[in-house]
Amino acid sequence: MPGYSEFYFNVDHGYLEGLVRGFKAGILTSADYINLAQCETLEDLKLHLQTTDYGNFLANETGPLTISTIDDKLKAKLLTEFHYFRNHAFEPLATFLNFITYSYMIDNVILLITGTLHQRPIAELVPKCHPLGSFEQMEAVSIASNPTELFNAILVDTPLAAFFQDCLSENDLDEMNIEIMRNKLYKASSCNITIILGVFQSVSEKESYLEAFYKFCEKQGGTTAEIMRPILEFEADRRAFIITINSFGTELSKDDREKLYPTCGKLHPEGLHLLANADDYEQVKCVADYYAEYKAVFEGVGSGTGEKTLEDAFFEHEVKLNVLAFNNQFHFGVFYAYVKLKEQECRNIVWIAECISQRHRTKINNYIPIF
């Protein structure tokens, strides 16, 4: 009965929806941020966070407070909440929540592969992974020496298998790309290329991931699809823009580039085609001009030091979309939006904390307020 999901939504998911809305009320407001930005030391920051919903999540920290502990604790709190959701979720919400974790898992895999290629010890890399995306076989990623082995030995058991399978078997070109890059890497060991490799891989995997997620949401129908559509479309388009901008000055051909674009966004198909032919930033901006919301995003970007970067502008737009999700009832979008907003909040707090600890006051207001 798609379209009538309101009737029985609360039977399965009502509790969790109520919960997530309760948690949402605890997201820091702009007044909180103003107070946080006035802090002189990290201890002040901690003291102020205690008056918010974070309570005394830092109370049991012995020793001096560092930014990484704050970051870890923030993430741990989000993780606890998310696990509570996940453990109490019924299908199809459970799958929906799994989809949220997949993106973090992909990021973690990429991080580990890149790190291993740089000969970094695995123990150093693991703490850098996002805890939402950790899985059992994660650390074993480092033992793989080529993509086939990576897939056949390690990822085949994880939920990510479906996405990687796509990018390994269907997109031969991508695999070739990876092989080329990897060969180059082994000979020249240029770190630049490694990063590009990471980007490509992540892009191609994310693409199929995004499309799968998009399809899943469409299948749910109703408000879920309505809410998630703009969010995921934006996510896809953002990737397309970023791939394009990052690919300038590398030897990625335009055809290859076009293959990397996710096709579930608003830019598909004309915009993606135009993007594929873009040669510099100005042309990308011209493409964005055809789309009202992206035009606004690109116009908000400044080139000066104190002004917003494109990344921040995208984040801001994302926050705006996610906040909208809370205006409707009986849908899963709130969970996605909550996780994303909370992640943004972590980024904001960490940014403020960095500014405080490095005495870099001029940029402290570059956080992105949520409410």
Binding site: G18, G22, L47
Partner: protein
């Protein structure tokens, strides 16, 4: 009781605390719990306040305490409660506490670290020992190092490989051995197989004894694995994989002999380590003993210290920076006590300058303080759950002490049920000081406190995951409306604050047995009275478990009637009995059986002399319980009783308004509001009460057939008509009624326009006489307002005149008029609907009586089937069922429902006649003992 009549006089005061003495002064005040401090720096954020350093130091100490407590819990020690209440520590003492606690924590940290590493070492040794022992089974086969994979591998590779190479390979079989967490075994095995393409043999076996998991501290059964493989490449891979899965890998000696050597070495090492570990444990226990001794006192002390600094953070400094100024709400009665506390505080700190308190005028409405004792607290909290009384308003609680149980009892009238309830409450009251009851209630109160601290203000929906959060959110969306008629929901929602005192509303919906128990315990005196009153009304209704009791002989004589009407042989035409005469089912007597067989129902006629010998001395005559028209009689009685009681109750509520108007110097409201309200109520509904009593007195059984109907008369009164079929009650009834209705109607415009017009006129007059309002002094910041002394009068006048400014006057008048219009409509409609609402007394008492009768006939009667020993055996389970159902349905369920309706009648019907309830409670700064749990 005088304290309950209205809230106490509270004044705003300033404390001038010399900075050296401030700490000890606030400590003294906290011990006594007299004052509510106001935040003088609301705009300063938490970390920019003055004593933030000290607060942080307290938090540091608390962190240390938490660590100590965790260690204690880890060791299975329980921390006792603090024996006596230690005072807040002075600075030097606090320093000592900090030093000692940190030293202890350091010591403890070292020792437990030592112990942990020793344990870890021991665990590793044991694991190693097990690995070797279990490995023996796989490797010490009779064949020379013949490991299982060899045949298969050989058969696959023989054709390709050089035999000499094969020889070489054969010798290079290697082992990786270790232990792994049982959950990871399957993933590990799969990955090994996939990554190494089966060029290995892995065997897994569970360890015979469970061991501790260093990560979680739980005891688990580890799994030992032994992997045999060829070649260095694969070996490295296997080692990497086992690293990824957090396995403990141990070196596995190749030869049998070296394995045996290692094992014996391990044995002796384990023994040595155990001895060392034992000594460490002993030392640790000593340290923990010290902690157990000192920690409770320290915790209370530091918590007090932190509370004091948080209060001091709310004070402001004067210009010279030598003096802290605090602003407090203080009961006027306690001012001397405050002064005393301040004196002691400054004396203790050795300060030469005295601290002092001074009252200042204010235009703000002070908080409400009504002192209660354990008896009145329950009743007061019923009122507070509706709304805390406005400052100095008449408090309905003292009247509720009697009316609440009484109105409850009207709906719950049954001697038996009332007695059970009374005894239950009596048990709670008598044993209220017994330790087990106290402990139970303290436990719960602790959790309430936690809840209060956890959820603040609009953050109601947040935190506590188990709490009814979904519900709270729904409420936020406005789906659950607080409405007098959806009390079923409303009450459960508000339950926390009804009894729990200070529980958040959101938490009320999360009910655990402890909280239910606390609810009853806190209301024990209320239940006691409810039980006692129910016994009384039970006697009035003459019902005990639905059975009537014959205390006095019945006033009706069946024998006389039988003789008179010669039921035995004469046959009278059976007539329909009038309502107020008992109609009996015939008694079974032998001689009249013929007559009775044909007449199922007989009537007792009170007009026959000797049949009715005057009213029954107390309550309802027991003979009615035999009558078939029992219900008709009771309905009429209970309906009229409800209306009479309801109107009296409401009229009393209106009258209570007198005290408010007089106290607030609003005498015009006596005439312009109270009088029309009274006229309206009495002219219409007071007259109804009069009619009821008049008819009751005037018409007796003799003229009952021609008695007029009050209902018809009352309807006619509003329609200004008269009904020919309905005899007038008295002469001149129609003109009297017309006058009464006219009076009632005339009082409506007075009520509607009186107050607004009066205020308007007065304001105009005052504007012409004195153009400048005198409230200027109050507008200034409170800190400068030192020209105090006669502030009491100033504030009162200020409250009354409301600080008028010419611009706001017009909208002000509109607002007053709107307010009055709403009040008028509400009152006039309310009189009708509230009177009808009191009929719930009738409905509920009827429901209760019927339910208990059903329970008796359907359950208990089955036990009386046989009057033999067999019948006695049957009676036991039947009585058990009866008893359980009586308690569950009649006492608990019906009791709750009657309670609910009594609550509603008080909140809605009674209190809206005079009670505003827009105040806020005085919450004094006090070191309450239960806050430290």
């Amino acid at each position: 009781m005088g304290a309950l009549f209205r809230s106490e006089e509270i004044g705003l005061a300033q404390l001038f605390l010399h900075s050296a003495a401030a700490y000890s002064c606030v400590s003294e005040l906290g011990e006594r719990g007299l004052l509510e401090f106001r935040d003088l720096n609301p705009k300063v954020s938490a970390f920019q306040r003055r004593f933030v350093g000290e607060v942080r130091r307290c938090e540091e100490m608390e962190k240390t305490f938490t660590f100590l407590q965790q260690e204690l819990r880890g060791a299975g020690r329980v921390l006792g409660p603090c024996p006596e209440s230690p005072r807040a520590p002075l600075a030097r003492e606090a320093l000592r506490v900090q030093e000692q606690s940190e030293q202890l924590a350091q010591e403890l940290r070292e020792v437990s670290h030592n112990r942990a590493s020793l344990r870890g070492r021991l665990r590793e040794l044991r694991q190693y020992l097990h690995v070797l022992r279990e490995g023996q089974r796989f490797t010490s086969l009779p064949a020379p190092l013949g490991s299982p994979p060899r045949p298969r591998a050989l058969s696959e590779h023989e054709p390709i490989l050089d035999p000499s190479l094969h020889q070489h390979l054969d010798r290079k079989i290697n082992f990786v051995a270790g232990v792994i967490h049982p959950w990871r075994v399957s993933a590990f095995e799969r990955l090994l197989w996939r990554a190494c393409r089966g060029y290995l043999v892995a065997s897994f076996v569970e360890m015979p004894e469970p061991m501790e998991d260093p990560a979680t501290g739980e005891s688990i059964t580890w799994v030992i694995f032994l992997i045999s493989y060829w070649g260095e490449q694969i070996g490295q891979k296997i080692r990497k994989i086992s690293d990824c899965f957090h396995c403990h890998v141990y070196p596995y000696p190749e030869s049998e002999a070296s394995r045996a050597d290692t094992m014996s070495g391990l044995h002796s090492q384990i023994q040595d380590l155990s001895v060392v570990l034992e000594e460490t444990e002993q030392y640790l226990a000593q340290v923990l003993d010290k902690v157990v001794l000192a920690l409770p006192t320290w915790r209370v002390q530091i918590q007090k210290m932190k509370a004091i600094y948080l209060i001091l953070n709310q004070c402001s400094f004067d210009v010279t920076e030598k003096c802290l100024i605090a602003e407090v709400w203080c009961p006027v009665r306690d001012l001397t006590q405050v002064q005393d506390a301040l004196r002691q505080g400054s004396y203790k700190s050795g300060s030469s300058v005295e601290c002092f308190v001074q009252r200042i005028p204010t235009s703000e409405s002070p908080p409400t303080l009504i002192r209660t004792n354990k008896f009145t607290a329950g009743f007061q909290s019923i009122v507070d759950a509706y709304g805390v009384a406005s400052y100095q308003e008449v408090n309905p609680a003292p009247y509720a002490i009697i009316t609440f149980p009484f109105i409850f009892a009207i709906m719950f009238g049954d001697v038996g049920h009332g007695l059970l309830m009374f005894l239950f409450a009596l048990w709670m009251v008598l044993y209220e000081n017994s330790p087990s009851l106290q402990q139970a209630s303290n436990e719960v109160r602790g959790t309430w406190c936690g809840a209060r601290l956890g959820g603040v203000g609009p953050g109601l929906e947040v935190w506590d995951m188990a709490g009814g959060m979904g519900w709270a959110w729904w409420r936020g969306m406005g789906l659950v409306v607080w409405d007098g008629d959806s009390m079923g929901q409303g009450w459960w929602c508000g339950r926390g604050s009804v009894w729990g005192r200070g529980g958040g509303v959101g938490r009320g919906s999360h009910v655990c047995p402890h909280q239910i128990w606390l609810t009853f315990f806190e209301g024990r005196y209320l239940i006691l009275l409810m039980g006692a009153f129910s016994i009384y009304t039970g006697f009035i209704y003459n019902e005990c478990f639905s059975k009537a009791t014959v205390i006095f002989p019945s006033a009706w004589s069946v024998a006389t009637m039988a003789n008179h009407s010669s039921w035995r042989w004469d046959s009278q035409p059976p007539c329909d009995p009038p309502r107020s005469l008992p109609a009996l089912t015939p008694p079974r007597s032998a001689h009249s059986s013929d007559y009775l067989a044909t007449h199922p129902s007989l009537t007792l006629d009170p007009n026959v002399t000797g049949v009715f010998q005057g009213p029954y001395p107390f309550g309802i005559d027991p003979i009615w319980s035999l009558a078939t028209n029992h219900l008709n009689f009771l309905n009429s009685f209970k309906m009229k009783m409800s209306v009479v009681l309801g109107i009296v109750h409401m009229g009393f509520g209106v009258l209570l308004g007198v005290f408010n108007h007089v106290h607030f110097q609003q005498r015009h409201r006596l005439v312009l509001e109270l009088l029309p309200e009274m006229v309206f109520l009495l002219a219409l509904f007071g007259y109804l009460v009069f009619l009821i009593f008049y008819k009751w007195v005037k018409f007796s059984a003799a003229d009952s057939l021609v008695a007029p109907s009050i209902l018809i008369h009352f309807i006619d009164m509003f329609l200004f008509t008269s009904n020919a079929g309905n005899l007038p009650l008295y002469r001149g009834q129609v003109p009297v009624q017309t006058v009464l209705v006219a009076l009632a109607l005339a009082s409506v415009p007075v009520l509607l326009l009186g107050t607004p017009l009066y205020l308007c006129c007065r304001r105009r007059a005052s504007r012409t006489s004195r153009p400048a309002p005198v409230a200027a002094a109050e507008q200034e910041p409170l800190l400068e307002g030192q020209e105090a002394g006669n502030s009491v009068n100033a504030t009162k006048e200020d409250v009354e005149s409301g600080g008028p400014s010419p611009d706001a006057e017009h909208s002000d008048f509109a607002e007053i008029f709107m307010h009055q219009a709403i009040h008028t409509i509400e009152y006039c409609l309310g009189c009708v609907s509230n009177t009808a609402s009191y009929l719930r007394l009738w409905a509920l008492s009827l429901a209760h009586a019927q339910l208990s009768e059903v329970l008796w006939t359907m359950v208990m009667r089955n036990g009386f089937v046989r009057l033999s020993y067999a019948g006695g055996v049957v009676l036991v389970p039947v009585f058990a069922a009866f008893a359980v159902l009586t308690v569950a349905i009649l006492l608990v369920m019906e009791g709750l429902s009657a309670f609910l309706h009594a609550l509603r009648l008080h909140w809605v019907e009674f209190q809206n006649k005079f009670y505003v309830g827009a105040g806020y409670k005085l919450c004094p700064f006090a070191f309450a003992p239960d806050a430290w749990e």
